[in-house]
Amino acid sequence: MSELLYFLAVLLSAVFTSNILLTNYLGMCSFLAVSKEIKTSLGLGAAVVFVMAITCPLNWMVSAWVLEPLHLEYLRFIVFIVVIAAFVQVLEMIVERVSETLYANLGIFLPLITVNCAILGASLFMIIRKYTLAESFVYGTGSGLGWMLAILAMAGIRQEKLNQSKLPRGLEGPAIALVVAGIMALAFMGFSGMGGGN
């Protein structure tokens, strides 16, 4: 029971307290580029959750069972990127087969997940925080959910509110999105210290 509560704490702290996007500012590029529509954001968000939830334990295995026994820790960065890229490639093929619309909507952004700093960031944080295999899976899922939550909120604001109002010239598009992201990060500061904090 206490184990379960601990996993819940890891999950919630990954979603809220140390939200990968709004407190660590990782994965900003796709966050700003894809958040214009709620539907696409939902697709990309789900893809990020899935990729993070799988690549975190995958990288953990590679790190703990291959790199560390061989004392190749200095190759971590490049190996993690290769693992993520290979996995995303497979995911892209699956998405293309399963949902043609989602594939068309995601367009360039699915391959871009490969270089989404949030994905690599989650894997590196997991190593720094010395999580176990099970924890790394929970942490990866939580980080992905946090990212998805943030991009959904942003897409809601942009599609439902900003699209319908005339913004001052020069503030349209990414400019106002950055302002909104800043205020969202201010709001997320409220979670600091919750769940033990990391």
């Binding site: 709620i38 959904l152 909120a153 897409a155 809601g156 604001i157 599609q159 439902e160 509110k161 900003l162 109002s165 005339k166 913004l167 001052p168 010239r169 503030l171 349209e172 598009g173 106002i176 302002v179 909104v180 800043g182 205020i183 969202m184 201010l186 709001a187 997320f188 500061m189 409220g190 979670f191 600091s192 210290g193 919750m194 769940g195 904090g197």
Partner: protein
């Protein structure tokens, strides 16, 4: 995609504004746009402002003047030359910002807060009626994060005596904690003291009694929506009550905790702002309950002394996506109902 942006940019210059809030270029327009609902909010804020002066001295009046002037000038800088007017709402923003500040805050910080609130909270989104977040709270959050010590550990006790602050510029007694903070450490404070106010705290937030009276006025004039205020209070009592019963450290008794800080002021004046709140019938209940529960959660578990401001900003942030989801759900149910009705005669 590039051309779409260009069209919008040109359209912004050429088309006549369609909303009644904006006006065409006209030299004879008065500088200030009167807004009846905003006047009502300002009336409701008068007792709170007076109580602030009575408790903490005339410095509060100077803060109000400085904050409102800075807010007005910021909005004026944005609308100058566009043919739009400065809206009455800017004084609501300025006054609400000062209501949430400690009475000892340096004047230049009041200016920073007011400028940030109006520029980043409101005008960058296109002005009145288009803001995504509550402008006053955006300004306050900015001050909170930037000048933590000034905002959370620099309070003054109310000026003693019958005349109170009416004969003083500022209170001499400085304290580092408000009753809301000491309550969390397990110290017992009589309910009456917390309810009536006249304790260390923000300019307009110490007296729960006044906040309720002014809030009820807003509800009565239908400026504030009870469908947000009531679930917010229930949400707070529910969450704080469960935490208190569960014996969470720092969780004070719910009724005491509710009247100790600025929670009620936040619920009636900030959370019910119609522009940033949920616009869906069911959504309003969820929105309010979220604010109440989140205020309690952040107040008990985070490093901050109180959570109302963050709770409302978070609710502002998630309101559009929630409304979208609820609308989709409504549409689905309507379709299902139609299908049932069509299949009915058989």
């Amino acid at each position: 995609m590039q051309t779409k942006v260009d069209e919008r940019a040109v359209g912004w210059q050429n088309t006549l504004p369609v909303t009644p809030m904006t006006t065409t270029q006209n030299a004879s327009l008065p500088l200030l746009k009167k807004q009846a609902p905003m006047n009502q909010v300002l009336y409701a804020l008068i007792p709170l402002a007076l109580s602030g002066i009575y408790f903490f001295g005339w410095r509060v009046a100077v803060m109000l003047a400085v904050g409102n002037l800075a807010a007005f000038l910021t909005e004026y800088a944005f609308v100058r030359g566009t043919g739009q007017q400065v809206t009455m709402a800017v004084f609501v923003t300025g006054t609400l910002l000062v209501m949430g500040l400690p009475p000892t805050l340096p004047m230049w910080m009041v200016v920073v807060g007011a400028v940030f609130a109006v520029a980043f909270g409101k005008m960058m989104f296109g002005g009145f009626g288009r803001n995504v977040f509550n402008p006053a709270l955006v300004g306050r959050a900015f001050l909170y994060i930037s000048f933590g010590g000034f905002m959370t550990a620099n309070w003054s006790e109310p000026v003693p005596g019958v005349a109170g602050g009416l004969l003083a510029y500022a209170s001499d007694t400085i304290t580092t904690a408000t009753p809301g903070m000491t309550l969390k450490t397990g110290v017992e404070i009589p309910f009456r003291d917390l309810f009536v106010g006249a304790t260390a705290g923000t300019v307009g937030g110490t007296s729960a009694l006044l906040a309720i009276l002014c809030g009820v006025y807003l509800l009565w004039r239908k400026i504030a929506n009870w469908r947000i205020a009531v679930p917010a209070i229930l949400g707070f009592l529910g969450m704080q009550g469960s935490l208190w019963l569960a014996g969470a450290p720092k969780a004070a008794e719910p009724l005491h905790a509710m009247v100790a800080g600025s929670f009620l002021l936040g619920v009636f004046f900030y959370a019910t702002e119609p522009v940033t709140a949920s616009k869906h019938a069911v959504g309003r209940w969820i929105y309010g309950a979220f604010i109440g529960a989140m205020s309690s959660l952040i107040g008990v578990f985070s490093v901050w002394p109180a959570g109302t401001m963050f709770a409302i900003l978070l609710a502002n942030m998630f309101a559009p996506i929630m409304d979208y989801g609820l609308k989709q759900w409504d549409a689905k149910r309507a379709v299902a109902k139609k299908a049932v009705a069509a299949a009915g005669p058989r």
